[in-house]
Symmetry: D2
């Protein structure tokens, strides 16, 4: 008999929330039991998101009404600073949690507080949170009560580097550069001038060059695998005029040895969601639109000793809601790709 | 035991072809057995469409290699003029067909030949073809050997009008106007200057004002339900800078009677794919992106006796590949929404 | 000797403000002496709009600091409700005004108050304001102290209809339909969810079907030329995923007589900014991008007695800042196209 | 008295051609006397580009009809391989030339032939051609008969590096990386699948990673200033879903000394078209849309010894037609910014 669990989504009015709702409709083991929003309480979900008409009969509730304690799992699809307040009680009540916000990603609390500009209200919980980069931490995730779902940039940048780090191939002391490009949905669904169609459309720019919150998160992941390797990481995010999609172009120096393509291909041989493409390929973001994939290629720059890694994800799927579902699958022993076998939408 | 059939796709290199392939991955009763393309024969499907990597192991074949005669159903996702040559033999061999091109849509052969600018090579077959507007012709489709899948504009325009026509509510002799807007994918995946990003992007224009091929198709459907009602139909298509999506804004004059919203809601009460929204709503194209829905609203213009009907579809889904799958489901007695329960991708 | 005047811009942080600033750089008779913004006072204009680096040395000032009374002309590029408070004093001090907001467009104060949802604070000034549809009111504009610059939809819809109305060709009692499509910049430069790239991008929808503020403005203009002709006007605006551009598709019934193309061509023979294209043409919005043109074509719908009028403008230029400059030129006796001879940006 | 010259444009049907035509309308010293196109001969320019209606009375002519020998200057806005055939005769006849194609950019003929895949038909002319990076070669350009107008990537990448090279600040042997992003108009106005709105829209990808034609051009420029400095240059171009605009993100290692911002600011103090922004700025492509600017900023990556240079141009203006006009101005002793003082179109 199929196991069925109840899921709640806190903060379901944003892009990661509605993407979770979309993915979970096709999940054989999950019933969405509650969606919460303080500002939209009382509004029918299908009135708020007409794309969900006929799909869900739910109505937004306040967190109090929603009886999240009766859920088996709760997803926080909230702005930073909410989960750190509300997660501890749910954990005590036996609810397992995937937090899509940044609240529990950074182990070092002063670092977190510096980058996120607030006092952490449940720092003791951070220690137990498992960093939910699924392909890195499958075992720990499977028994976790609390999973800190990675940021989109850290997912896109870390996945191609894990195998090379594990194989000891990244040259220490050499420059490590991640030039990253994101679609605008990464900024979330909130009123703001900078992400208006008339500001972000037909335009390309870098941002956060002097420092971006995902920098310490990437460094933490990489340095955990090889102390100090990411201390000098250069990370430049850019905003590109599209809705979904993220592209990392990385410039590496490698110790000599097997072709890195082979190392990546071996490492991800049994991973459904990481596609190591032939060396020389150029993955494009639309090839993962709406799907939980990361596609990667690696090749040497012509007449140079620099290696170029290209990596693409859909920032809302493998970079957020999809990876959250993947983590839930690991936590509950479901098939890892349950709810995640949708094919990318092209064109 | 689940019935399984074999499907072939002729001309799978275009947008309707790749969309069929995407939809059929989740269909419980269908195995895609062959994809053909003369120009790409020998190329792996997943090399041609990286979005299908890991999904299909197929390779493009020439029609001769492909043994389409061993398929239970063949979809023609070809330019106009191909199916009319190749369908007759397959029908003789017992293969059922859904033709996504325009070859068998128009019953009157001289009309077809005038609008499509070529001689029809199998006019005798046209008579037996069932026009595949699923919600109109469910019974006939279920026994059809050959289904002529409707055009995108005719689907978007006809669906809201059927119930009003059947109820005798469209005023004869009054203007009937369909102002339609299409995303660029309606033009297909072929090299052309007019649909370059730099030509069609950040631009809006009408086209085909003096006559568009979908005009006689719409007239045929409407006039079949009420002779002459569509003789004076005014149809103006426009190109809008987006990939998928079609929006019809129709201006009608109605005989007095029940509110047309009720008529539509009653008519489509048991139809999974036609969503009659509350009067006063404004459906948006992204609310059906990637899904087989038509969403409709109807309301009276302020201080006027004109009624305004708004109708949206994804031109590649309900306007092409999705409706083709729906028709196949009807033909083979599958659940009508098999393979079609994907939720629209938003944002 | 070239006459030079001083201009001030109130509310220069929005799209019509920055467009005014762009256009005025090439104006031989105007020096921009002051730009005001309460919220940005003290910020250099070129820091706020990097596109103006090296072009202007101005700094935003509060209205008090700005000494607008020393200007010959002041443009209000403000949200509705500001000019009605600040214009009267400036007029008293001898400053001439072009108001780009809606404050003085509607002659009937209760109508204005109903549609704009506030009490009018200088209703007595409305009477003297000249409606700045340049091609309609050249003489009155030339002597006006206060010009109410038209809305974008009213400009796009009214320009093609003026000649037909003047010639008495619009059939009374017949439906008059304006199906209009606007780029997103028409919504202005303010934080809002609905105009985010991720909401308005790759999407098409109608809005304001039940009533839009530009409806009474259009009716006022048309009814002034022929009493009651626009009482039943149906006006449906749509949002299209592009930055600039507006397209009106109008459906008319005409009394028999000369071809309407001839009537339009005659009417606009000496107008630099209205381009009557050959009948059968389809003007596209990008053909006027960044320029002060309205391009129009008119043709009969096939097999119908309905006439189709297509009209395009750049909503920020002929629909706002460009027409404002044109009106200033008329007010001060400058060459009508001074500052307005830029060629549309294509692609 | 104002000097007036006659200009001809060969291949005026493409994007650089129509941009030249747009810019030259505001040039006080130039009359466009002829536009040629073999395929469109006999078509009125304003019928082909409706944005030019009312601006030019010209008609496309064949090269033979066009009497280019009567022009003072001829611009080649042609595909590669045309100028090398037609330029020599015009030069002999005393016509000066700016070639916007790549025919005369690469001094080493075997290198050119390898990258452009054809035999060079006038290699002897290459030697005399002056590379038209205006800010680098002002003096040589002023006396040149033939100017090879630089590619868009080489312009965007080279301008920020020139001052650092001249000051001897680029570290030899260290990685030099240029991660570049281009709008789609860089691919030109030709029918092709890859640049369709439905392929290039809502998508981001790298291309030409294994080698791009602009790589040897950039290397030639940089190595001319410091032998060998660019031998290991890594250049990765990307396609971004917008019409105009180019963004280079460069990662450099510098010898210690003055802040590079000061070096750049000093170098370009008297250059109208290169804007060195404050260190820490992030120039955006729309801040140069339609204008002949290159905006640059330079800053050190946090916790790293890598320097980050950001550089933006409009690929059709400073990256093509605008720089061509600038070069013409230098050649004929006109004011350097004649015809080039348009303000960027924002939004």
């Amino acid at each position: 008999m199929t196991q069925r669990i109840k899921a709640g989504i806190v903060g379901a009015t944003g892009y990661t929330g509605v993407e979770l709702l979309r993915l979970l409709t096709s999940h054989p083991n999950v019933e969405v039991a509650a969606v919460t929003s303080r500002s939209e309480a009382g509004i029918k979900l299908s009135d708020y998101f007409p794309s969900l008409r006929g799909v869900y009969e739910l109505t937004f509730q306040t967190p109090d009404e929603a009886r999240l304690d009766e859920c088996d799992i709760v997803f926080f699809a909230t702005p930073n600073g909410v989960a750190m307040k509300e997660a501890p009680l749910l954990l005590e009540l036996g609810v397992r949690i995937v937090d899509l916000s940044a609240d529990y990603r950074i182990k070092d609390i002063p670092t977190w507080e510096k980058w996120y500009g607030m006092r952490h209200e449940s720092p003791n919980i951070t220690a137990e949170a498992v960093y939910g980069l699924s392909e890195l931490n499958r075992d720990a995730i499977s028994t976790a009560r609390l999973v800190a779902n990675p940021g989109c940039y850290p997912t896109c940048v870390s996945l191609p580097l894990l195998p090379l780090l594990q194989a000891g191939r990244l040259k220490t002391g050499a420059p490590l550069i991640a030039d990253c490009k994101s679609g605008v949905s990464g900024a979330g669904r909130k009123a703001s001038v900078g992400t208006l169609l008339c500001e972000a459309g037909d335009n390309f720019k870098a941002y956060g060059v002097g420092g971006h919150r995902h920098l310490p998160e990437i460094k933490q992941t990489l340095n955990m695998l090889q102390t100090g390797i990411a201390d000098g990481l250069v990370f430049v995010p850019h905003l590109t005029p599209m809705i979904r999609g993220m592209h990392a172009t990385m410039y590496l120096h490698l110790e000599s040895g097997r072709h890195p393509h082979e190392i990546l291909a071996d490492f991800y041989r049994d991973s459904s969601f990481v596609d190591v493409m032939p060396s020389g390929s150029t993955p494009e973001t639309r090839s993962v639109r709406g799907a939980n994939f990361c596609r990667i290629s690696v090749q040497q720059a012509p007449q140079s000793d620099v290696w170029i890694v290209l990596s693409v994800i859909d920032n809302l799927v493998k970079g957020a809601a999809g990876q959250a579902v993947q983590n839930m699958n690991l936590m509950f022993g479901f098939t890892e790709n349950a709810g995640l076998d949708g094919v990318p939408l092209l064109p």
